[in-house]
């Protein structure tokens, strides 16, 4: 039965070479159909000698199964490649934008910075409290050790709404309110809007934002103030940041210190290449906040809530959020922050 072997070889070659489903169907009919040689051969087995029937039948069935299997595999292969081809033809321009758009908005730059600061101080164990912006002179000045004749109280420096009622000029009045409400220890930060009647220019606006801090406990020191603000500065400006305390003067802290951070732009060298660093003006240090040990006179105003100046002590600071916006984000003109111009606000991303 050499012709069966030859048939198989021939059929396998034909199936292997077939390029379409139609050709395969044609080959299936030709080699396995009712009129095919193989079918004829199987039908005519009965005409053989009994001792030949077994081997021939077996061989014919083997060839049939082999061809059927081959046809099936080839069909699957061809289906897959035809699908691939169809899918390839069905391509899109992946460089087109997504649609419909799913816009992501943004937080205002001041909010972004405020949140970053809040989160850092929460991590350092401070709670966030907020207070009224329309404030009594008592909380804004008197209880913060500003004598009655202090010039900051004059209408040139403070917005008034009525006798003894003003727009807070700093977030510090919340120090007193918070201490009235809670006995020591107290660890708080106070973000919020503050107001001063400054004629607007690039670095002055009549409303801006501060973040106040207050920590009172039994044994807080000026060294602790330095450590706390160093920890803040490193998270805010980068882990290589240093802080430096300089003598300062504020009515409600004693000793008072100004806090500088090493310039995050030039790394404290004062130079960018051979150019003087524009951020620190070549000094290598940037003044970012005022602070100090809470003045005993301030504690006297809240002695009724347990703030005995011989028993508890602590530190406070206040910093401008817009100042950070100018320094870190290089916003050149404070007034731009309150125009709410989307071309500016969208530059800083969605925010934290």
């Amino acid at each position: 039965m050499a012709d069966l072997a030859q048939l198989r070889t021939e059929a396998e070659a034909a199936v292997g070479a077939a390029g379409s489903a139609a050709e395969l169907e044609e080959l299936r009919v030709r080699y396995l159909g009712r009129k095919s040689e193989l079918t004829q051969a199987l039908r005519s087995i009965g005409e053989l000698r009994p001792d030949e029937r077994g081997p021939v039948g077996k061989q014919a069935n083997e060839v049939r199964r082999a061809l059927e299997g081959l046809l099936e595999r080839r069909t699957a292969e061809l289906d897959a490649s035809e699908l691939d081809q169809r899918l390839t033809e069905d391509h899109v321009d992946v460089t087109l934008p997504g649609d419909p758009p799913v816009p992501v908005g943004h937080l205002h730059l001041v909010s972004q910075i405020r949140r970053r600061m809040e989160d850092i101080f929460v991590g350092l164990g401070f709670s966030v409290v907020e207070g009224p912006e329309i404030e009594y002179e008592y909380y804004n000045f008197t209880a913060l050790n500003h004598p009655p004749e202090h010039p900051a109280r004059l209408p040139q420096d403070t917005f008034y709404l009525a006798e003894q009622v003003l727009l807070r000029t700093h977030t510090s009045p919340m120090q007193v309110r918070a201490m009235e409400l809670k006995e020591p220890p107290i660890y708080i930060v106070v973000p919020g809007r503050v107001y001063r009647p400054d004629t607007p220019d690039a670095t002055h606006v009549p409303m801006f934002h501060q973040l106040e801090g207050l920590a009172i406990d039994e044994d807080l020191t000026l060294a602790d103030l330095q450590g706390t603000l160093l920890a803040f500065a490193r998270q805010m400006f980068g882990e290589h940041t240093d802080v430096r305390l300089r003598p300062g003067y504020f009515p409600f802290t004693e000793p008072s210190v100004e806090v500088d951070v090493s310039c995050f732009r030039c790394g404290g060298t004062g130079y960018e290449g051979s150019e003087r660093c524009p951020t620190c003006k070549g000094e290598g240090w940037i003044e970012i906040l005022g602070s100090g040990m809470v003045d005993p006179n301030v504690l006297d105003y809240v002695v009724g809530s347990g703030y005995d100046k011989e028993r508890v002590q602590g530190f406070a600071w206040g910093m401008g959020i817009e100042r950070i916006a100018m320094l870190v984000y290089q916003v050149p003109d404070l007034r731009m922050l309150f125009d709410n111009d989307l071309r500016l606000l969208e530059q800083f991303g969605a925010g934290p």
């Binding site: 709670s127 709404l161 009549p206 060294a223 430096r244 300089r246 003067y249 111009d341």
Partner: protein, 812 residues
């Protein structure tokens, strides 16, 4: 405060360059603002010379051709235009190549045909003074050809220091020198106010002048009398110091008063005694409306708060601020009354602010000087009057000092200082620092008893103040860096703050941009919003009418922002703001002076507001969706769902809203009206030049926070038994609100109806005229069993019955 470096070094010289000295002072609290260079560039090209010969220029009457010996061989030929040049003078010469104070370089110049190799200098040419009429003539014993800088201060540096309000002593050069001494321990020259002049004669000052003061406004008034005064220009060294410090030299007597002030911080005033009418001075309060012409030529009117220095015929000066034109020292003056007084600082500050008149004197007096400083300044001034004006000092002074102050003593506990600073400053360091600053520390049984010098009296009154002094000079850089040893406090945001962040993030993530607008608005904006009749808080001293009212709602700020962006090419936007709004809560004024006990003066609420002109931007295959009531309502729904608050809209208008496309936001829990949502009235939007629908909402976040408190949820089983979902279409009259349909469906479905969702609204042919069809998806679910078809069918019947009551029927 401008501190000429050469002047400073004459009292305390640490032998280091100006920048280094300035850095040390900065770290001690005297912060350097700027370091200036004044005078000439390189001093090498400036020498002394002698005029050997001076002849008139052959072709120019006003020029002289001089031969000047500058110690370098042949005399130089120098053409000079000064009228006072003559042979034999010792003069200051700039050689070719010299860099002048204005930065220009001197070259050889040909003047009317004669080559001039250098310049004979007038004082203004080297920045010493302003005189340009003649050349400077030096003492004859000055050697020829010597470096000029050895004989004249032709180059200097000036430290411009920022002086804090508590340190009036640093408004004088010697005070700065004392701080420099304290931080560097470099020797300090004797206080120039220690030594006094020798009086001459047998008369006494009170024979020449009588003084009367009001002790409420004048703490001390000292007067000395000088006769035979020769008015003239000051010597060059004095002119240079004044010029470098920013004061114009005028005449010796006036220059002396300025010099002493710049040196000691105590201002003085010189009167022409012959012009003091009536021979007496009275210090009194002004009469209301009283007027005077001050030295700057301006006529000013006073109030009874203000202190005047007067003679018999009226005011001659505003106490502590500025003199008047009467009794001013002039060229003809021969008798001088020198005044050094001590005023009440706050009074001077108020007067200065009220008159809008600040002077070098008022800048010092307002910081409160000590009465002791007045008599000290008189001593230095007297020596200069005798030395420079050849005056006779009349013996004794008139000294009105009704309430002498005793020296202040303050106790310092070393352990207290260590506890506050977090480090131990060695005892000998503490003593050394205080001593160098002029304090007198004495050990007193483990404590340090410290006498405060008069020039620090206003600033150092308590232990904490002394600790600050020691810390500042000891060096804050020597402090350790530690963190608080925390006990019981945990940092956190409050639930309210977390809620604010959640809703702000929610709006941000839906594509809205956050704005921060000024808290003030204008009365005009409230008029445009048609709410001008509602109560609002006005500032007493606004910067402008545009910013004169505290905003009672956030909407105007968002409208301003939308207007600004539309005008800059961004008309399609969606904005929000989260901030305070302000309303009166009763009369603002407060009478008491003690603590208000936590009360707040006004009603301040935290609001959240949205303004959108676009609901969704378009893409390349999708149309943009304009804003409307429903786009803003969807945002309110999201915000209040995030806050876990049930609410419903109620048609109630705000004057600025579209009457048919807006609603109040009413909390289901307590019926509270917590805000509004909807489209703006087109006429209101047009006031901000906004065209097309403008929609938004504004809600009271403080109310939302209160309602949101305590909303706790527990698990509800959704997995054990399957839900049955059915869609129905309900036909109702067009005017029936969807909420009524939903209520009827819920009423009929009862507790087994787990959810209803409205997913389509249809009007048209398939329903009747004046009707609409609402498509609803119903979700039936029981907790304890699988619902049977019969149960669901009976629930549907109940729903159908409920709908019938509001005139509705099921369709299809």
């Amino acid at each position: 405060m401008r501190v000429p470096f050469s002047w400073l070094r004459s009292y305390c010289d640490p032998g280091r360059p100006a920048q280094h000295v300035a850095d040390r002072l900065t770290m001690a609290g005297d912060k350097l603002e700027r370091l200036h260079r004044v005078g000439v560039g390189d001093v090498a090209a400036f020498v002394t010379g002698r005029v050997v010969d001076a002849e008139r220029h052959p072709d120019a009457d006003r020029l002289s051709v001089c031969k000047v010996d500058v110690g370098r061989g042949e005399p130089q030929t120098i053409v000079c235009g000064a009228p006072n040049v003559s042979a034999g003078q010792t003069v200051a010469v700039a050689l070719p190549g010299a860099v002048m104070p204005d930065g220009s370089t001197l070259g050889e110049a040909k003047l009317r045909g004669v080559v001039s190799s250098g310049m004979i200098l007038a004082e203004d040419e080297v920045g010493i003074g302003e005189d340009h009429l003649g050349i400077m003539v030096l003492d004859g014993d000055v050697p020829v050809g010597a470096p000029l800088a050895e004989h004249l201060p032709i180059a200097d540096e000036v430290l411009e220091l920022e002086v804090t309000p508590n340190r009036p002593d640093l408004m004088g050069v010697y005070g700065v020198a004392r701080d420099l001494h304290a931080v560097t321990a470099a020797p300090l020259a004797e206080d120039p106010t220690e030594a006094d002049a020798e009086p001459r004669g047998a008369d006494s000052a009170d024979e020449h002048i009588s003084i009367e003061i009001d002790p409420e406004i004048c703490l001390r008034f000292t007067a000395r009398v000088f006769e035979d005064v020769k008015i003239g220009p000051s010597p060059l060294w004095l002119k240079q110091r004044l010029t470098a410090a920013g004061q114009r030299p005028i005449s010796n007597v006036v220059d002396i008063t300025n010099y002493v002030m710049l040196n000691t911080a105590q201002p003085l005033h010189a009167f022409d005694l012959d012009e003091v009418r009536g021979g007496g001075i009275v210090v009194r309060r002004a009469a209301d409306g009283e007027r005077m012409v001050t030295l700057d030529g301006t006529e000013r009117a006073f109030t009874s708060e203000m202190a005047l220095v007067c003679d018999a015929e009226g005011p001659s000066g505003i106490a502590g601020i500025m003199g008047g034109q009467v009794s001013e020292v002039s060229d003809k003056t021969t008798r001088v009354l020198m005044e050094a007084a001590t005023w009440v600082g706050p009074n001077i500050m108020r007067t200065s602010k009220a008159l809008g008149l600040r002077s070098e004197a008022s800048a010092r007096f307002e910081k409160q000087l000590h009465p002791e400083q007045a008599i000290r300044a008189q001593r230095l001034a007297a020596r200069l009057m005798v030395d420079l004006c050849e005056a006779r000092m009349v013996p004794s002074a008139v000294d009105m000092y009704p309430r002498p102050l005793a020296p202040r003593s303050v106790e310092l506990r070393p352990e207290r200082m260590a506890k506050l600073l977090g480090t131990v400053v060695p005892a000998d360091e503490v003593h050394g620092i205080l001593d160098r600053l002029g304090f007198e520390p004495r050990d007193d049984d483990g404590r340090v008893s410290v006498t405060v010098p008069p020039w620090r009296d206003s600033d150092v009154q308590r232990e904490a103040d002394l600790i600050e002094e020691v810390a500042h000079v000891y060096g804050l850089d020597k402090l350790p860096t530690t963190l608080p040893a925390r006990r019981a406090a945990v940092g956190r945001l409050t639930p309210n703050q977390r809620l604010h962040r959640r809703v702000e993030d929610l709006l941000r993530d839906r594509g809205l941009g956050e704005c921060i607008a000024y808290s003030f608005t204008s009365p005009r904006a409230l008029e445009r919003l048609r709410i001008a009749d509602q109560p609002a808080l006005r500032l007493e001293n606004p910067l402008s009418e545009e910013q004169s009212v505290m905003r009672p709602l956030l909407l105007p700020g968002l409208l301003d922002a939308a207007h600004h962006n539309a005008a800059h090419g961004r008309p399609a936007l969606a904005l929000f703001e989260s901030a305070h709004v302000y309303r009166p809560s009763g009369p603002l004024d407060r009478a008491g002076t003690g603590s208000p006990g936590g009360a707040t003066p006004a009603l301040e609420r935290h609001h959240l507001a949205v303004l959108q002109t676009q609901a969704l931007p378009g893409g390349w295959r999708s149309e943009p969706r304009p804003a409307d009531f429903f786009s803003s309502r969807a945002l309110v729904e999201a915000v209040l769902e995030a806050a876990d608050i049930a609410w419903r809209p109620e048609s109630a208008g705000q004057p600025f809203l579209h009457p048919g496309r807006a609603a109040s936001v009413v909390a289901a829990a307590d019926e509270r009206d917590i805000g509004w949502v909807g489209e703006l009235h087109p006429s209101v939007a047009a006031e901000w030049d906004l065209v097309g629908p403008v929609a938004g909402f504004e809600i009271d976040m403080d109310a939302v926070a209160e309602l949101s408190e305590g909303a706790e949820r527990v698990y509800s089983d959704v997995t054990s038994f399957p839900a049955v979902l059915q869609d129905i279409a309900v036909v109702v009259a067009d005017e029936t609100p969807a909420a009524a349909v939903l209520a009827a469906v819920r009423g009929g479905g009862g507790p087994l109806l787990a959810g209803v969702e409205l997913f389509d609204v249809y009007r048209g042919e398939q329903v009747g005229e004046g009707e609409k069809s609402l498509a609803l998806r119903l979700e039936f679910r029981a907790r304890d069993r699988t619902l049977t078809d019969e149960e669901v069918a009976s629930l549907r019947s109940a729903i159908e019955a409920g709908l019938a009551e509001i005139g509705g029927r099921l369709r299809g």
